[in-house]
Symmetry: C2
Subunit: 323 residues, 2 copies
């Protein structure tokens, strides 16, 4: 990995985001507080807040006004995670017990809803209906994405288009939204600037999810915070799998294994073995590189301020992390 801390220009603001996260899920209900704080303390890269702040930094130095947005974006992300953990019946995330393991499914569903509602209040306080509209639209699409992913499991007939649509909604949309909204809250950002950052976030988000999908095969549990091969054990067909299903000499065997929820678990080692040796990892890495290039291109027309190089480095970082 590159030795580069892309959050340095916004370190002060990210500390504020961290404090405000806790403040904003503060409820009179102690159990809800516990569950929410457990989620917050489980950490995470705070990538969405970072992108909102970095995007705004193109247009102004004082980012005070962006903090509530940054907090709201992380809350939306957390709300999706806590519901996903119920769906997947996950026991750990980021190396810690999940909310549903500790407090049960009911608490997880409700705290996800609560956290999402809180993020809504933060966004509403901007009194910017265009911001709310973009956010509502993205939320709808993210929900659809979750359903698409669920329906696509164990289905070896679905191709690249289905995969790209899934990762778009799972990851790229919210990162794209973060960049877009960060810019939208700056008066001096032009429509073209906002659109460029929206697309930057989109392509970078696509690249990020593909590297995540690669890491699920290549990294160990310590790095992932969850067992390696988690996706394929649940029948989630990612880009390296698609490549192997199409091109590997064992592709018929692979398809037969993946079609069966039982075999996805019991024959996981064999499945991973076929995929890792198929060239699918390298293929996925090349696709990542294409998205990274597209993300970089979006930065060209943007104002030439110091932050630009940070966003440029960021794309390299995304690309390198899969190695």
């Amino acid at each position: 990995m590159l030795n580069f801390d892309f959050t340095r220009p916004i370190a002060k603001e990210l500390n504020l985001v961290e404090a405000k996260l806790t403040e904003n899920v503060d409820s009179k209900l102690s159990l809800l507080n516990e569950a929410s704080n457990h989620l917050i303390k489980a950490g995470g890269k705070r990538m969405r807040p970072a992108f909102a702040l970095l995007s705004a930094k193109f247009f102004k130095d004082d980012l005070q006004e962006i903090i509530p947005l940054a907090v709201a974006l992380e809350l939306v992300h957390m709300a999706t995670l806590v519901h996903d953990d119920v769906i997947d019946n996950s026991q750990t995330r980021r190396g810690r017990d999940t909310v549903n393991k500790t407090w049960g499914n009911r608490m997880s569903i409700y705290s996800g809803n609560y956290i999402f509602a809180r993020s809504l209040s933060l966004i509403a306080a901007y009194e910017r209906s265009d911001v709310i509209e973009v956010m509502a639209d993205a939320s709808t699409k993210i929900c659809e994405g979750e359903i698409i992913q669920m329906l696509s499991c164990y289905n070896v007939e679905l191709g690249l288009k289905n995969y790209l649509r899934r990762i778009e909604r799972k990851t790229a949309l919210l990162i794209s939204l973060s960049c877009q909204l960060g810019a939208m809250l700056c008066n001096n950002a032009s429509k073209n600037d906002i659109n460029a950052l929206r697309l930057y976030g989109y392509y970078l988000g696509m690249a990020f999810q593909i590297t995540d999908d690669i890491l699920d095969f290549t990294a160990d549990e310590k790095v992932l915070g969850k067992p390696a091969g988690s996706d394929i054990r649940q029948g989630v067909i990612t880009l390296p799998v698609l490549y192997a299903l199409k091109n590997d000499k064992h592709n018929k065997e692979l398809a037969n294994l993946i079609r069966s929820p039982e075999l996805c678990v019991s024959a996981a080692e064999r499945i991973i073995d076929i995929i890792v040796n198929s060239g699918g990892i390298e293929y996925a890495y090349n696709v990542t590189a294409r998205f990274v290039y597209k993300a970089q291109r979006q930065l060209e027309p943007l104002p030439d301020v110091a932050i630009k190089s940070t966003l440029l480095y960021m794309t390299d970082f995304i690309q390198e992390r899969a190695f």
Copy 2:
């Protein structure tokens, strides 16, 4: 029950709401459509849309502009129902199979989220940040209410205050919001008008939930669309139960039964018997009457238009439905 159709003045608009409900959950995902349409076709009284429309009718005749709000309010209500059915593991609602019985918990969680996101888009389109703020705030409180209800089950120590807070958030808030927002979208409604309708909805919602809680003891499955005594079987302590726990000669036996999730199911007949004979139903009915009176009082300063008598009748209707 009173033989009075309070929806007559807005019958045309409610038909439009019905059509738009289906239109607004239309997704390219056929399974999501099926689940959403299943929910819509399961019916319901469309009470929240009706209150929004009736409230607006005080101030204007053409309610075209209120339709998206009315649809959004019903969608919010549906989203809470579909999540509640997962939580309660309900098999039927309004006499039909629930979404989670037919499609499973995962689909229920996602379709609840999707439906809520769709309602958000409808509200966002008004470009009224005050409307969004009120809605976001209510959503947060409704989520808290669900958690309070969950935590209050089987707890015989909690009193009237806890009960009132629960039903406020479970029912009164969204009805209150419906009345308030219906008026807020009319330019000629004064702050006092809006507040009067907000309080009318609040008190009426409280009365409505108490009668609902009474009906859970007195009505049969055909009327309820779910088995009678459902609440107490799940340890939900409602007003008649609170009365019996405090005043009945068998109150120690009752407390011991309710404390145990197993006995709430196996000894449900005995529990219901104690409560029905305790005078708790009559007590709850009297509390309903007090809320109905408060709701009626709110109408006094409102413009004296034809719709006023409808809202007045509505309160009588709520009071009478428990008999």
